[in-house]
Symmetry: C2
């Protein structure tokens, strides 16, 4: 499907354009986990999440005439912003299909990056159908959020950079939504002998169940605060990769996610969105074992007001 | 009083011990400010604030026998944690006199770093008197939060690092409480031709008034959310420095501080405490002018619950 060379090609395209995000450590976290923990801070990525990597890699790889006609994406938020930014940087225009209940900060940011936003009701309408129809009507290229080899390869650059900064990791942990991030990271990490662990919200464990069943399982859209991890089923292409390369997918509750967000806030002074905090949530809940653990903090797009709402009632 | 060589000596003592905190930039912030803005992220410093620099420089400079007897400090919070950490690193013990209404996160953290905490009522008791009495009774050295040349010199390393990473700044902006941070930074920045601007909460503008009067003015303890900037008057030694070197002190309201904290959260994914956000608050309120502006984010010690409380009611 994809191999390390695809990820390296993506890294070359992203060089000097994506942020080289820092890998952070915390004595407190190491003490709590009984391990050496390395956090890849993709909350500092352009657009506030790792999604920029895959979107830019995809759009930059389009033939010039296709790219000139513009691109279209459907997304619960971070992919939308990523496509909007990448399109602008590459001199083209983006149309984004977003759920009408997406976090207001994400809707505003997407429009702020210059994209046209089309809203839909994600409990009643099918975003893929809307995306395909608009793509055909307008003659623009669809940039899928995960089920595309170029998108997966772009996301894999997270692991390339993490392993460049912390070469002796024995485990890598990433959030799992549609499976693009973990597919790209596993493509890099598995050949180097790392154990690859995914984390899903317990109400949205479609990939964990699919791996257990050996085939893609379709759940309803999960109700969880991790709005970036609400894919109802694994992607077709991502699942083909992840079935081979992912060792395990564990789950965390919404309450555990909020605890992890508060921990990252209090101790590391980092803003991490619910979807981005699931790796640390799994670590603090002792569902991830290892001596030198790399964890991807996948994004930071939670507004201050929403954060307050999540943390306040405790 | 102090000169650049004192700050360089402090930098040598802190090398490899204090964190070399990053200098961060934001296209959004630059656009809003109409300037190139460089943020020195001391929220990532050991203990969560710049205070570690001065405390460590002071304790490391004590004669060995004095250091062995232990140290004592009074502090509204960040200096307390700083002294506790520095004492532990230097193999001695710290006693900390803290106001009983200090943020719980700060009390807990100070105890967590191994210090003995003694509480007092800061609306009725005088912390300097308590500190002096305990220091005499116990034969331990008092580590002042700002009014000490070694503490000022330690804080000045913030400006040394900021100017190493962003050498062409024309303005440096720091919060002003007792005046130690700005005194140290001005000692570095003024000889290099920068304009030095301090920021105080509008209810605690003791330094602004003192500079206008040409002498130290004593206010009551100000009611402000910026709990690190509640000094009732400038320090004696810090004022002697700041009277010569500080160009201007501007003020910001508590509401402006909260807006700046929310901006730093939403757009930069940074946790910055109220006192640490005053520089950005002043910038966003257009009270600081310049083309290349360095701003010290002095600390990040605001608990998640307290942040929620501050941001929620808007």
């Amino acid at each position: 499907m994809i191999d390390v060379r695809d990820v390296e090609a993506a890294a070359a395209r992203l060089d000097g354009i994506a942020h080289r995000t820092p890998v952070l450590t915390s004595r407190t976290l190491d003490g709590m986990a009984g391990a050496s923990v390395h956090l890849k801070a993709e909350n500092f990525q352009r657009g506030g999440a790792f999604k920029f990597r895959g979107a830019y890699n995809k759009i930059a790889s389009l033939p010039e005439d296709a790219r000139g006609r513009g691109v279209l994406a459907y997304s619960s938020g971070n992919h939308a912003q990523a496509v909007a930014i990448a399109a602008t940087l590459l001199g083209t225009r983006a149309t984004i299909v977003m759920p009408e209940d997406a976090p207001p900060a994400k809707l505003d940011a997407t429009r702020g990056y210059g994209a046209e936003v089309i809203l839909y009701d994600r409990w009643r309408e099918d975003r893929e159908a809307i995306g395909s129809r608009l793509s055909a009507e307008r003659g623009v290229e669809l940039v899928r959020p995960y089920d595309d080899p170029l998108v997966m390869a772009g996301q894999g650059t997270v692991a390339l950079e993490l392993l460049a900064d912390a070469p002796d990791l024995d485990v890598i942990v990433t959030p799992v939504g549609g499976g693009g991030l973990i597919a790209g990271c596993a493509t890099v990490a598995k050949p180097r002998g790392l154990r690859v662990v995914g984390v899903e919200p317990e109400n949205g464990d479609d990939t964990a169940r699919s791996l257990a069943a050996g085939e893609r399982i379709e759940l309803g859209i999960p109700h969880t605060i991790a709005d970036g991890l609400q894919a109802p089923s694994p992607g077709e292409l991502t699942f083909a990769v992840n079935r081979d390369l992912v060792d395990e997918v564990v789950t965390v509750s919404d309450a555990e996610i909020v605890d992890a967000m508060a921990f990252l806030f209090d101790r590391l002074k980092l803003v991490v969105e619910p979807s981005g905090a699931v790796g640390v949530a799994a670590l603090l809940a002792r569902r991830v074992a290892g001596e030198r653990i790399g964890i991807v903090l996948s994004g930071g797009n939670v507004g201050a007001a929403r954060f307050a709402e999540l943390v306040r009632p405790r």
